[in-house]
């Protein structure tokens, strides 16, 4: 901890939800990959908006509407800064899933035709598989998958071959099921060299490490607010300006048009063209507060702490008899999925919950991946910067008990 920095202990106090008992035990929230908790500053930013400034945006000429517009467009600027983009490149969506669907619909239906190849990886979340399968059904595009190694990293041996003829390459930055950190910049570089448009699913990285879309070089990037200390109901799609400028709209409605006649309509430029209807105003403001909060701590510092928790988590879990840890053993994110020989993931999670420990069990929206790994379901502990080493040790004790119970 550098001079002047708030301690992790102090920071943890910003999260009211963490201060509670569950089933008579102090809550240990290790389900951060599913959704993160929210600091007071985020909750208050939204309350403040509703109690003082609430109005619809853009077309308003009165004071409240000016404030709401300034808040909403200010949030766009804040998020642009958060990922190194320009304001025009930030489209607010409900989250990663809607962002990817937006690309599949608006970009995919315009630029992809029957036989074109979309390259994915075997470790994608359903939200980066199903939209492309749906597009494949509608348009006849072909899907191709980069395989994974037994360690749970991408097998890049044949990448050049796999990239051949690829129109779009869409991949997950950090796997929510394996903790694998993919070499995003390298993947983007090679895919761009092969002529592909590239989308990065940053759902699991956006709240944890520094992200710069210009450095990454990707064309699209998707993230969810609720996974980075922000509210539910908001996320974004980054699109490179030249791409967005040429892209047809997604939804039709108010705010995204410049002129409507009974015969036809003209659309506004990006980002408005892609934001039909009243947007999630309070949520955008909440998300900006989350970006502010995270950068207040510093993403480099957060990532360092993540790494510490990841190492400790791995060390503690490795000592549970009969455990199988999924994903790589080093260079990984602060989430660890595992199976116990004696107990099914559901039983593990139910029992852990009885001890106040919140884990997630199941397929983590990566059914094809788990099938490939021969794992019907896994349990997952995922950490955030407000988690502690003590909590990880408590987890170790609880899981030992669970293991013994079912053994």
């Amino acid at each position: 901890m550098a001079a002047g920095e708030r301690s992790w202990e102090e920071i943890r106090k910003d999260f009211p939800v963490l201060d509670q008992e569950v089933n008579g035990r102090k809550l240990i929230y290790f389900d951060n990959a599913a959704t993160s908790q929210k600091p007071l500053s985020v909750i208050e930013a939204m309350t403040c908006y509703y109690e003082h400034d609430n109005a619809n945006v853009h077309r308003g000429l009165h004071e409240l509407s000016n404030r709401a517009t300034a808040g909403y467009e200010g949030a766009r600027a804040r998020l642009a800064a958060y990922i190194g983009a320009q304001e025009e490149e930030i489209i607010f969506t409900r989250g990663t899933t809607e962002s990817i669907n937006l690309v599949a619909r608006a970009w995919g239906e315009e630029y992809l035709k029957a036989g074109d190849v979309v390259l994915l990886t075997e470790m994608e979340h359903h939200s980066n598989i199903v939209p492309w399968q749906m597009l494949a059904q509608r348009r006849g595009v072909k899907l191709r998958f980069i395989p994974i190694t037994p360690e749970g990293t991408l097998d890049l041996t044949n990448l050049d071959q796999l990239l051949e003829g690829v129109k779009l390459f869409s991949f997950v930055h950090i796997s929510n099921s394996l903790g694998t950190i993919n070499p995003a910049a390298e993947l983007v570089r090679r895919a761009k060299a092969a002529g592909a448009t590239v989308l990065v699913d940053a759902a699991q990285s956006a709240g944890h490490l520094p992200l710069d879309v210009k450095e990454l070089g990707c064309d699209f990037l998707a993230l969810s607010g609720h996974k980075m200390c922000g509210p539910t109901g908001i996320g974004l799609l980054y699109g490179r300006r030249e791409i967005l400028d040429a892209m047809p709209p997604f939804h039709g409605g108010g705010e995204m048009i410049s002129t409507v006649t009974f015969e036809g309509s003209q659309y506004k430029p990006s980002p408005y063209r892609f934001e039909a209807g009243t947007p999630a105003i309070a949520e955008a403001i909440g998300l900006a507060a989350a970006a502010e909060y995270i950068d207040g701590i510093g993403r480099a510092r957060i990532w360092e702490h993540d790494q510490l928790l990841a190492r400790e988590g791995l060390a503690v879990l490795s000592q549970i008899p009969g455990i199988r840890i999924l994903g790589p053993l080093d260079h990984r994110a602060g989430l660890v999925a595992f199976t116990l020989q004696s107990a099914h993931a559901h039983d593990v999670v139910s029992m852990a919950d009885q001890e106040g420990l919140a884990l997630r069990g199941g397929h983590h929206c990566t059914q094809p991946l788990l099938r490939k790994l021969g794992v019907p379901a896994s349990s997952r502990a995922s950490f955030a910067f407000y988690n502690t080493i003590e909590e990880i040790h408590r987890m170790g004790e609880i899981l030992k008990k669970v293991q013994a119970f079912f053994a």
């Binding site: 089933n23 107990a343 039983d347 139910s350 029992m351 001890e355 397929h363 019907p376 119970f405």
Partner: protein, 152 residues
């Protein structure tokens, strides 16, 4: 912790050593049930002779609740007729999902140890998976069932 309530001895025992586990070569009807959200998969096979359930076995894998429930199911319905099995089925489902918890139902016998599952809403589908398969099998429809149903 009230875990012991959920995982009673009998449940643990049946999940570790499921009865009537294995293939049933002379089955007259087989139904596959799966719970895609967690990976539970069981296959229930019945040998029906008219209205009589002459034999019943299952295979598959799943959590302790799911396995124990299937195991106890086989013990309970073997050698029963369809009407008796249906009564058990209804009683079992009611015990777990009726809006108001019903009075204790003696007819269910051992199966009553699953009544605690009621308080673990996400686990109800683990306990009912094999019973949903049975339901379909009793209508003598081979096929598959899934726990993914609309909120009802």
């Amino acid at each position: 912790m009230n875990l012991e309530e959920l995982y009673q001895e009998v449940i643990l025992d049946h999940s570790k050593r499921p009865r009537n586990f294995g293939p049933l070569p002379d089955a007259t009807v087989t139904v596959r049930g799966d719970n895609p959200s967690c990976g539970d998969e069981i296959e229930l096979s019945l040998k029906l002779n008219g209205d009589q359930i002459e034999d019943v076995k299952f295979t598959g894998q799943g959590c302790a609740i799911c396995m124990a429930s299937a195991s106890l199911l086989t013990l309970k319905v073997k050698k029963k007729d369809k009407a008796q099995a249906e009564t058990l089925l209804t009683g079992f489902k009611d015990m777990l999902t009726a809006p108001e918890a019903p009075e204790s139902n003696e007819a269910l016998g051992d199966l009553q140890i699953f009544s605690a599952v009621r308080r673990f809403p996400q686990r109800v589908k683990c306990a009912t998976l094999s019973w949903r398969a049975l339901e379909q099998a009793l209508e003598a429809h081979a096929g598959s069932v899934t726990t993914e149903e609309p909120a009802s």
